[in-house]
Amino acid sequence: MKQYDVTVIGGGPAGLAAAVEAHKNGAKVLLVEREARLGGILKQCIHDGFGLVRFGEKLTGPEYAQRFMQEFKDLQIEASTLTFVTKIERSSEGFLLTLVNREGLSKILSQTIILATGCRERTAKQVFIHGTRPAGVFTAGTAQNFVNLCGCMPTKKCVILGSGDIGLIMARRLTLEGAQVLGVYEIQPTPSGLTRNIHQCLYDYDIPLHLSHTVTRVFGHDRLTGVEVAQVDDNKRPIEETKQFIECDALILSVGLIPENEIAENLGIQTDPHTKGPFCDQNLQTLHDGIFSCGNALHVNDLVDYVSESGETAGRNAAKWKRFNRSFASIEPSDGISYVVPQRINVADENMNTILYFRSAKVFDKVTLQILINEKCVFEKKYNHLRPPEMERLPFDFTAFGLKNTDTVKLLIKEDAQ
């Protein structure tokens, strides 16, 4: 049976960065990918804007992925594509993984596992739209796959529900390819995608954005013939008098992403209800010894640069991994913060240098972020703007604070007195 120090599950940006970094730290690495090609979702993200933080350049998705794929190839790291992990068992010698591919079934032994399985789109079944079940209801990612990889247009005239980034990107893409995008409907009172995408994808092409609106019903037998939209009240309930019918041949959904953690759940790894990803410590090790998490499987990112960064953190620490008893202080989101990653600090580790990733719960202007240890403020930072769609990154070294496993760290927002 083949043996590895680190097995990375998923060959997207997180997995590639994790594999490269684990290899550079001396580990024998295997990367398992279910698709034929590495690169993950970046393969179909042909728009530019990737890598500004990391490379200072505006790259397209495939160009960004290629930089890591090239390094991965140059380092001659082993990859098994068109391969699924169907089972993970714990044995006295490590993790026993069952792999399935065209050669059949095989088993490998690995000391550590990095879960880099990305996220999945929320579908029509998860947003409760009434009506028939015609063809023509696509998630934005599916539409993107049709257009950018298959070269097929899924619509001539469509409505987009949700203002997530992929929906905005697809509004522009479909418009460029000659489709009519009648409007983007967002149930929240604020957009859920990045501000610059609202501008460069919608306003550049005069595509209307309807906030506090939703799609209430779809029509059509074989193919979608139209949708009913309505304004919603403060409780997000559709207002009857505002309902109107819009004729179109497709409904594109961009209504949220959920970290993919089926493998983690099967192993009984605890996940954070805020992020839907595993609880992790500062080394991105989950609460299960030897299993690490990174990228969009850990929490949904808006920039790939941070996906790669978390992959590297997981890869480096998985390579250095040795069994020892961990002991945790907890990090919790408090007033104005919707989530923070990591959720734990392993206080038995001499290095508590941590990269905190967090999002605000609502739009804030001119506020102060505070870090509290046992209700005592130890750090403050002012922010001009905080917006839920825009994740914040804050490196913070907890090492000097003498944290104990009974301690609680809190992140909160204080609104400045005007």
Binding site: I46, D48, T60, R196, Q200, D204, E390
Partner: protein, 118 residues
């Protein structure tokens, strides 16, 4: 007074532009890229076009491409029309030029994926 959002980077700075005769007074940018963006946006807006072109290869029906620099915003749809009438006949990789000086602009169309070389 005009407001616009800088699209150069994910910060998405809200820029305020005061037009005082021929002078532009720009504020709100976190970096000098925002200054340059506001100036071109007020005079001759530029964009990068990212799209795909058809290929002659069955296994890869389309190849991702982009303009290697920004082009005038009003030329976006003529560039799209040119891209959609083009069929790639040779296997090429990232950075290789497919169409030179597209639609009379300074921009070349380059491949952005190595899928045809794998």
């Amino acid at each position: 007074m005009k407001e616009m959002v800088c699209i150069v980077c994910p910060n998405g700075c809200l820029l305020h532009i005061d037009t005082d005769g021929n002078d532009l007074k720009i504020s709100g940018q976190k970096c000098k890229k925002g200054l340059a963006f506001a100036k071109t946006e007020m005079t001759a807006p530029m964009r990068t076009v990212c799209s795909t072109v058809k290929t002659a290869f069955k296994d890869v029906p389309v190849l991702p491409v982009r303009t290697d620099r920004e082009i005038p915003k009003e030329k976006i749809f003529s560039v799209m029309a040119a891209l959609n009438s083009f069929v790639l006949q040779e296997r090429c990789g990232i950075g290789e030029v497919l169409i030179e000086k597209i639609c009379g602009t300074d921009a070349d169309i380059i491949a952005t994926s190595n899928i045809l070389k794998e």
